[in-house]
Symmetry: C2
Subunit: 293 residues, 2 copies
């Protein structure tokens, strides 16, 4: 059941991405090839799937066209990966088992491909098949979730600055909440808005997202430490090598696992506000915490 949700969600998101990204043969071809290289690198499409399931849960059915919102979210996630991997940032050669964007296309095109995926995402959001009032709410929610104050870019900045200084638990939580949980939360909330969710449902989705998003990043830290590069499809052990701030580094592996489990519990409790239908989201949450890559 969960496997089917993941598989169908991935296919829907992939088809929307294929349709919404400029074709590879569209001029200027280099940038479109670079955007597609990174978008179609075998991602699990977690954010689109969470978005679509949130929309389904608040409305009872998968709302028509919601996969386009999911595709835009995946464009934003991919833009952040391309820029994170650049030599000036994490300097990573491998991502999802393939050479990173700048290794294939050079740094200039990789910078512009990241920029362009962000731009393309907002073009997609502006043209979504829901009322204009919902579209601007969605755009505001997502821009905040990926911005500097408590969003993705802010988390990335503090993460960079925390290398080589040992951050305290509060700083580490800020990094993880902003860098990862904020876009996961925005994915769930925007899916709920698209599906016409009530304020109470939206609040539940937000609470679920914040808990599951933080747990997701804690698990990411654990996997970086315990899995091989082959298992992860990206360079393992990078966090230790770069003395990066992680939960296992600060709390140890066991305590990190315990924290992730507690967050999963509280995420599930938050879903009681969405309604009886939220079993798929609960399953997705458990899957994200128990995954091995």
């Amino acid at each position: 059941m969960l496997k089917q949700t993941l598989e169908e969600g991935r296919k829907l998101a992939d088809a929307a991405l294929e349709r919404l990204l400029p074709p590879a043969e569209q001029r200027p071809t280099s940038i479109h090839a670079a955007m597609r290289h990174s978008v179609f690198a075998g991602g699990k499409r977690i954010r689109p799937i969470l978005c679509m399931e949130a929309g389904r849960d608040v409305s009872g059915n998968l709302p028509a066209g919601i996969e386009e919102l999911g595709a835009g979210l995946e464009m934003l996630h991919t833009y952040s990966l391309i820029h994170d991997d650049l030599p000036a940032l994490d300097n990573d050669d491998l991502r999802r088992g393939r050479p990173t964007c700048h290794k294939v296309f050079g740094e200039a095109i990789a910078i512009l491909a990241g920029d362009a995926l962000q731009t393309q995402a907002y073009e997609v959001f502006a043209g979504l098949r829901c009322p204009a009032e919902a579209r601007v709410k969605i755009i505001e929610e997502i821009a905040k979730g990926t911005g500097t104050v408590n969003g993705m870019i802010g988390g990335q900045v503090v993460d960079l600055e925390a290398e080589r200084i040992k951050p305290d638990a509060g700083t580490l939580e800020y990094i993880h909440r902003s860098k990862t949980a904020a876009l996961i939360t925005a994915s769930l909330v925007s899916g709920g808005i698209y599906g016409g969710g009530s304020p109470e449902q939206i609040r539940s989705l937000r609470d679920f997202g914040q808990a599951i998003g933080l747990a997701f990043q804690i698990v990411d830290d654990i996997l970086d430490l315990t899995q091989s590069s082959e298992q992860l499809g990206k360079t393992a052990g990078k966090d230790v090598a770069s003395e990066k701030a992680t939960y296992p580094a600060l709390f140890g592996l066991d305590e990190s696992r315990r924290k992730a489990a507690i967050l999963l519990d509280s995420a599930n409790r938050a879903l009681d506000g969405v309604g009886a239908s939220a079993n798929v989201l609960k399953g997705l949450g458990r899957f994200l915490i128990e995954r091995q890559n």
Copy 2:
């Protein structure tokens, strides 16, 4: 009269930017300082001013809150400058007479500051004080104007690829139309939409923008060749040094000046569709073509 328009427009745009950008002391401070360093570096605020005057022309008055749209456009322009100046792209140390963002804050923060200005711009657009229907139209227009197909990023890509190969006139026109004219056009058209302009007025603003935007970039090429770094506030003679594709390189100075003058004429003719009030936009067009820096 024109001087007053420019001065008042700049002040309005600056005040909106001050209000809409996170304060420098907001955590994470480094990125907010970097965003502000580049935004408040003495720009002329051409795009906000064109946007505001377009809104005034279609509606008879300066529409309330339109300076926020202008501020968002300036954020997008500044993001493109920060990324253009990076070592992997144009590798420029000087911009508007000040050290470029990466020279002061390092490459990582400069990349993220550019990203963040784009994100912040869309948050601003989503919250504009005009009907949601107009806001999504504005966002779509601006995303297209800054995108890869016929927009700013596309122009930048072809421009990069045209270094060291001599582009033909068609390619050069594509570069200039996409890299510069598209965002100038989007500024005028979005201002017209904000002001509630008719389809005919919007069409006239689009024609004006395409002509004046191309002329603007031709004049930029001419100034790079004929003015000193001090006069320009940025490194002069870079185009020749990097064998960049420019109008003077392809057509010579005199023919380039003649082309700019012809475009100014056709820009002014396009404005007849906006109405009798478009004298300020005509004056702005002339100012952009006759400027010395």
